[in-house]
Symmetry: C3
Subunit: 266 residues, 3 copies
């Protein structure tokens, strides 16, 4: 399956018209950049994690983004509470299982979260997605984060079990929805030297999912991430100027920029 520049542009235009409120319960490292990326995109970010208010915040939000990058007990409790309310309200829930596979706490929390409230979209790198699959017992024989074939099989299995769109990011981003796979080949290696661009991608998935179906949202968000990152890297003198230019480009990108740069599996 493919997405077109026109579809991405129309989605972005619609997103800007609606300026969805994206409620983030995310990690300390990336909060500032996540908020700025959402603002540059045209969405309205809010960060709130207190048990006393997460449900009320979900009540006015158009999407909920959960990110376990610096998880701790109260924050995880808030994620469950917020996710439950988001499900009741029918707004999209995006999960970024940062570091799943690295510690039992991260893997276990991710796993409990996806069982409790199957997310609309799960976005992670290959090893995070494999960690989720392993836990689910769906991925026997999948032992290497290096094999795209195995990773895709795992993602498809998670998609079948949970109904979630699975987005595996990397040099190629795979967006898995049933038997459909969108493969985005944008991006730049220097993006790996900037902290939190994966977290930004998840937040952008949330912003798009507020205004369209989850599979399209994930594909459009990932394409835009990759294209903006590539354009930013072009004139960047290093990772900090890449980050700064990336945000500026999210704000000023044109349909023609998207058209010229979009790369997908043929």
């Amino acid at each position: 399956m493919k997405v077109t520049a026109a579809e991405i542009w129309n989605s972005l235009t619609e997103l800007r018209r609606r300026s969805p409120l994206v409620h983030n319960i995310t990690n300390y490292v990336v909060m500032n950049n996540t908020a700025n990326a959402l603002l540059a995109l045209g969405a309205s970010p809010v960060m709130a994690h207190a048990l006393e208010e997460v449900e009320e915040m979900v009540d006015i939000a158009d999407a909920l983004v959960l990110n376990i990058g610096t998880l701790s007990k109260h924050w995880v409790d808030a994620m469950f509470k917020a996710a439950q309310r988001a499900r009741e309200r029918g707004i999209p829930v995006i999960l970024d299982p940062v570091g799943a596979g690295a510690t039992t706490y991260r893997t276990g929390t991710s796993h409990r979260l996806i069982r409790s409230v199957p997310p609309s979209i799960i976005r992670g790198n290959a090893s995070e997605i494999l960690a989720l699959g392993h836990e689910e017992g769906n991925t026997k024989g999948v032992d290497s984060a290096d094999s795209p074939v195995n990773t895709i099989a795992c993602a498809q299995s998670l998609n079948r079990t949970l109904g979630s769109i699975i987005c595996v990011s990397g040099a190629t981003d795979y967006i898995i929805s049933g038997n459909d796979i969108v493969e985005i080949r944008n991006g730049h290696p220097m993006m790996q030297r900037v902290t939190g661009l994966g977290c930004t991608a998840s937040a952008l998935c949330g912003a798009f999912a507020a205004t369209e179906d989850n599979a399209s949202a994930a594909a459009h968000a990932m394409a835009l991430m990759g294209i903006a990152g590539e354009m930013a890297a072009e004139k960047a003198e290093g990772p900090a100027s890449l980050q700064s230019r990336f945000i500026d480009i999210l704000h000023s990108i044109t349909e023609s920029d998207i058209g010229k740069n979009l790369k997908q599996e043929g």
Copy 2:
């Protein structure tokens, strides 16, 4: 009432001479930018929120800035404790009621804070100020965040009740002190696409209030914010370069820059 470029410049010069220690109990999203803005301005920032130390930190601080942007129980407890000590010591307390009106927790916390220790300055956008006014029962008939007349009436009512300088930020910033109103017309629409510039404004109010009366401090801080934001926007390629240039300009701004750019209600 009006402020002059010379007054702003003299205040800034005095602030730089004293380099006041501004103690911030603020939200996770903006901490880095707030600290950098205070440093660029010439103040000394410190962030501390542990119940074990907030009073001691207030004891060496010249101003206390409270910001509820990512509030939770322990942080709110620390705000009360710090505010109480700040009142005892007679140093200015600035409140930024981020998101008051959005959730019961934020509105209620703001309200309890201003009753417990009436702030020297409250800075918020129109809807936040209206949320504070509503709670106080002082603003019957004020129903729209869109009407400057109603917002100003609400701010004046809060000012009478609490004695706090009320600063309502927006396209025009209103600084309310008794019957006096300063109206600053600086700023740039792209500033709304940068997270936390409102929080920065509150922190700057704290830095100025450490060295002069609260009404002047709020007016000088808001004028400087707007002018630096406008100058930053001029050559910015988007919101990230605006943020970066804004900090650089806070550091290098001259009296002549202020004189050329200051815009007030005639």
Copy 3:
């Protein structure tokens, strides 16, 4: 004692080859910049503070960096637990006692930390190092943060007592190891107007210590900080562009840049 540009370059090359995982339990203000500095340098940062996972994270880490800049109870508990495990595993532990001397809580926590697990490297400014020394009762007669002689005596005393390499940063950085002193004279005054560059220095000490002896690691990290900061300041328009350029330069710095700029006590 002196370090050479070739030594710094070889260390950096080795660091990049290994890309050590640096586990940071640090303050909210600097997390983003710390992570980005480590990534630009060529290391792999991770932030994790939950009691549920710090030990497991230490188990896969190559260095542990503790920074008390926004300390609170649970975070301090996590620091002790992580430090204990790091000692058991024999990986380097770096302590940045931010604000030691400013409050009893900071001074006391730093002191308990260094007694419980003597760090591989302690990096702080003169007043922080003196606060640690005073507490240890090793620094009778040392009353002024202004006297390099007293500060060095205090650092040497701490070094003897704890076995830790003591790094005192300032206009001149002193790296104390037994009777050896490395004096780095790089850096730029505007670096003091950027929040968290000291914290970055401590994190870089961690990254280098993962791949070489602690004394060399501290000297190489401080030299690189100072050189990159100086180079960044050259074309910076203010503190924000200094920060951005600093990260870019960490990523692109060459052996020749180091050779041309390295300044040490003759």
